[in-house]
Symmetry: C2
Subunit: 430 residues, 2 copies
C-alpha cells in the first residue's frame, strides 16, 4: 500500500463515525473509484474509550488532534471537529503548513478564514476541500467550482439548514408554534441542544458566504451577510402564507445587483410551485442562475451521517485522483473584494402583518403611513371582527426598497392603535 | 501560450458555434478558471463559407474533420458532429489513438461504442469526457462520476429529452393533440425535422444507458433498454392523468431489481408533487437514489446553445486542469456485464384506457379477464354514457407484473366489445 492515500481523521461523531465506517468496510470499491487504496491510518477524538459502532482497533490513535498534522503516515487530514476557532482551525492550518491536504465540513471556519486558508493551501501545493460544508451530500460545491463556469452566475439561492426547514415544514403540517416544534426537533435529534446557530440563521450565513465566493469569484465576506432567523415566525404567518399561495422558507440568497452584491439570510415568502417552495423536511436545495444557460436546481439530503459522509468521501477521492483545482475554483489571489449592496436598497414585495385594535380608522392610518412613503398595497386580508380587541391585518405590498418600508413601519409602530411591532417578510421572486 | 490547452473543434452548429464564441470572447476568465489559456487552434465544419455569428478568422480550418486528429497543434478534440457512426466515430477514435483528449456531446456514439472508446482513452492516457451528452448543462455526469460515490446507487430516473417534455407539457396546457404540438415544436425549432429519434424515445435510451453505466459501474448495454415513445399519448390520457393527480412524462429509468438491472424508456404516470412531475418545457432532470445518503435531484436546461456549451466548457476545463479520472468513473476493465431484468417481470401499477362500445356487460367482461390473471383494480372512471357508442373506460391497477397484465390485455383486446388496442401506461413510484 505504498501508493495509498493515507488519511488522518479528526472527530468521530455522527459524520466522522460514518466516514470511518465507509473507509474500513468499503475500502475495496472506494479504492477502485479513487485509483489507489484509501487507508485510514490515524484517528483522533475526545474520548478514546467511548463505545462506537465503528471498529478503530489497529488504527493509530492521537489524543491531540493537532498531532495528526505532524504524522508522516498521513497525506490528508479530515477535519470533522467543527467550530470557527480552537483546535479545528489550528489543525487545518498546521496540516496545510505541513503540506497535507485537508478535507473539512467546517463552514464557520471557512466563512471566516477561508481566503487565508485557500491561499496557504495553494502556496503549499495541496488541496483544501469542503463539499460536506454546504448542503450535505448535494454536490453543489463541485458544481459551482467545476461545472457552472461558462457564463457568469447572477444569483444563488438556497435552503441550507435542514433544522430550520424541518421546523417550518412541521409548523405548516401541524399548525403548532415555533417553540413547540423546536422542542420536538430537539427530542428527535434534528435540532441541537443549543439551537441558536441554526434557527438564528448564522449557519445558513456561513454557507451562503461560501456559495457567494464560489459563484462570483469574490472573497468570502461573512460580515456583510444580513441575517434574520426563524424564531419570530408564528402559526398565523404560516397560515396567511398559504392564503397568498406561498410557503415560508429560510433562504440564503446571494445576488449581483446594481448596488453591489447582496448576501441575505431571511425567512422568505416563496411562491408555491417554485422549486424552493417544495423542499420539505431536512432536505437542502440550491438554485443557481447562470445567464444564457438558465437556471439549475440541486436538491438532496443536507445533513446527517449518510449525506455528509458521502460528501467527505467524494472529496477524498478527488484528492486521491489528484484533482487539484483551487479551493474556490479560482486562485486565491484572484478572488476580488466586493462591494456589499446596502441592505436598505433591497427591492422586493413584502408580506406585512400588523396586530391592531379593531377600532375605526386603524386601516386608514396604516394605509396613509404606507402611502406617505409611496409603498402601495397589492392585496390585503383582515379576518374576523372584534370591536376594540386585537386583530391581524395582513397585506402584500408592491415592490419597494426595504429602507423605505422600514421608515413607514416605524411610523406605523408609533401609533397607539397598533400594539405589536409589525412583522415583515420579503417575497422571494423565484 | 506554450502551456495553453490547444483545442480542435469539429462542428459549428448551434452548440459548436456557442463553444467557439465562448472560447474566443471569454478566453480571459475561462483561462483563469482552467489554470492555463484555452486556445481554439483549429475548426472544421461542413461549409467554410456559411455566415456565422462567431468570428473564426485566424483559426486554422480543416475541410475534413478527421484532420483535426492529426494536427500537432491540437491537444483536445471537441466532437460536436453527432451520429453513432460515420465521421464522428472515426474522429473520436483517431483522436484518442493519437493521444489527444476528446470532449463530446455524442450520446449515440458512447451508448454503442463507449466501453471500447473508454478503454482506448485509458490505454492512451487521455481523457474522454461527455458532460454535454446528457441533460445539457446539468452536471449529472460529473455528479455520478465524482460525487455520488460513497454508497451504492440503486436507481436513476430522468427526464432526458427536452423535445418530448415540451410536447407533453404543451399538450397538458392546451388540450391539443400530439401531431399538432409536434408540428408547432418543429416550427419553433424545438423539434427536429425528423423527430423520430426524440419522440420515439431512442435519444432518451442512449442517455439512459450511459447514466446506468455511471451509476452502477456496468458496461453500457443500449440493446437491453426497452423503449417506448410518446407518439401514442392522446389528449384523453393527459386529461385522465390529471384526474388521477398525475402527469405524463417520458422517463428513462434504470434500477437494480432482484431479477437484474432494468433499463426502461417509457411515458409514465408520475404523481403530482414528486420532483419529476414538476419538470416543465424543455428542462431536463435526474433523480438518483443512493442508499443511506437518500435521494438527489438535479434539474436545468437540457438542450440548446447555452446549457450545452456550458457543459462542453466544463469538460475542457477539467481536461486543462488534468482532472483525469476514467470516463465512466471506474477503469474500463472494471466495468461489469450486467444481467438485464426481463421486461415482463417489471412490477408496477398501471393506468389502462379501453375504448369500448357502451353496451351491457362490457365492464363485467374487462373485470373478469383482469381477475383471471389476478390483476386487481385500484380505481376506475367511466365518463359519459352513449348506449351502443364508443366510450372510454379508464382504470389504475394495483401492482402487477407487466407480463401478467399483457396477457390479460390480449384477452380483452380479443373481445368484440373493445374496438381499440388498450392503452397501458405504468405509474412511476417516485
Amino acid at each position: 500500500m505504498t501508493n495509498a492515500l493515507r488519511i488522518g481523521l479528526a472527530g468521530l461523531g455522527t459524520i466522522g463515525g460514518g466516514v470511518a465506517g465507509l473507509l474500513t468496510h468499503d475500502a475495496g470499491p472506494l479504492g477502485s473509484r479513487a485509483g489507489k487504496p484509501l487507508a485510514l491510518t490515524a484517528v483522533s477524538a475526545r474520548d478514546r474509550k467511548k463505545r462506537r459502532k465503528v471498529q478503530i482497533n489497529g488504527i493509530a490513535w492521537e489524543d491531540d488532534a493537532l498531532a495528526l498534522a505532524q504524522r508522516p503516515d498521513v497525506d490528508v487530514v479530515v477535519e470533522l471537529i467543527g467550530g470557527e476557532n480552537g483546535v479545528a482551525g489550528a489543525l487545518v492550518e498546521a496540516a496545510l503548513n505541513n503540506r497535507k491536504h485537508v478535507v473539512t465540513a467546517n463552514k464557520a471556519l471557512l466563512a471566516l478564514h477561508g481566503a487565508r486558508l485557500a491561499l496557504l493551501a495553494e502556496q503549499k501545493g495541496v488541496s483544501l476541500r469542503f463539499e460536506a460544508a454546504i448542503a450535505g451530500g448535494v454536490p453543489i460545491v463541485k458544481a459551482l467550482r467545476e461545472s457552472l463556469i461558462a457564463y457568469e452566475i447572477t444569483a444563488v439561492r438556497g435552503i441550507l439548514n435542514g433544522t430550520c426547514n424541518f421546523i417550518l415544514t412541521e409548523m405548516e403540517k401541524t399548525g403548532r408554534s415555533f417553540p413547540d416544534i423546536l422542542a420536538e426537533a430537539q427530542k428527535q435529534g434534528i435540532a441541537e441542544a443549543d439551537p441558536a446557530l441554526d434557527v438564528g440563521g448564522l449557519d445558513t450565513a456561513h454557507k451562503l458566504s461560501l456559495l457567494a465566493t464560489l459563484a462570483f469569484g469574490t472573497l468570502p465576506d461573512f460580515a456583510a451577510v444580513t441575517v434574520k432567523g426563524i424564531e419570530a415566525i408564528t402559526p398565523d404567518d404560516i397560515a396567511f402564507a398559504r392564503e397568498f399561495r406561498c410557503r415560508i422558507r429560510l433562504l440564503g440568497v446571494a445576488c449581483r445587483t446594481a448596488n453591489g452584491i447582496e448576501q441575505r439570510v431571511y425567512p422568505a415568502m416563496v411562491r408555491a410551485g417554485t422549486p424552493l417552495a417544495d423542499v420539505e423536511g431536512t432536505f437542502n436545495a440550491v438554485v443557481a442562475d447562470m445567464g444564457e444557460a438558465g437556471q439549475f436546481f440541486f436538491e438532496g439530503g443536507g445533513a446527517g451521517e449518510g449525506p455528509t459522509a458521502s460528501a467527505v468521501i467524494a472529496d477524498l477521492i478527488d484528492v486521491a485522483r489528484g484533482n487539484t483545482g483551487p479551493t474556490f475554483g479560482r486562485r486565491a489571489v484572484e478572488l476580488t473584494k466586493f462591494t456589499a449592496a446596502p441592505p436598505d436598497a433591497h427591492i422586493s414585495s413584502y408580506y406585512l402583518r400588523f396586530q391592531v385594535f379593531d377600532v375605526p380608522g386603524v386601516m386608514a392610518e396604516i394605509s396613509h403611513k404606507l402611502a406617505a412613503e409611496h409603498v402601495s398595497i397589492e392585496s390585503m386580508i383582515q379576518r374576523g371582527r372584534a370591536p376594540g380587541e386585537p386583530v391581524s391585518i395582513v397585506m402584500i405590498t408592491h415592490e419597494t426598497a426595504e429602507g423605505t418600508l422600514l421608515r413607514a413601519l416605524k411610523a406605523i409602530a408609533a401609533s397607539d392603535k397598533v400594539f405589536e411591532r409589525p412583522t415583515m417578510i420579503p417575497m422571494e421572486a423565484v
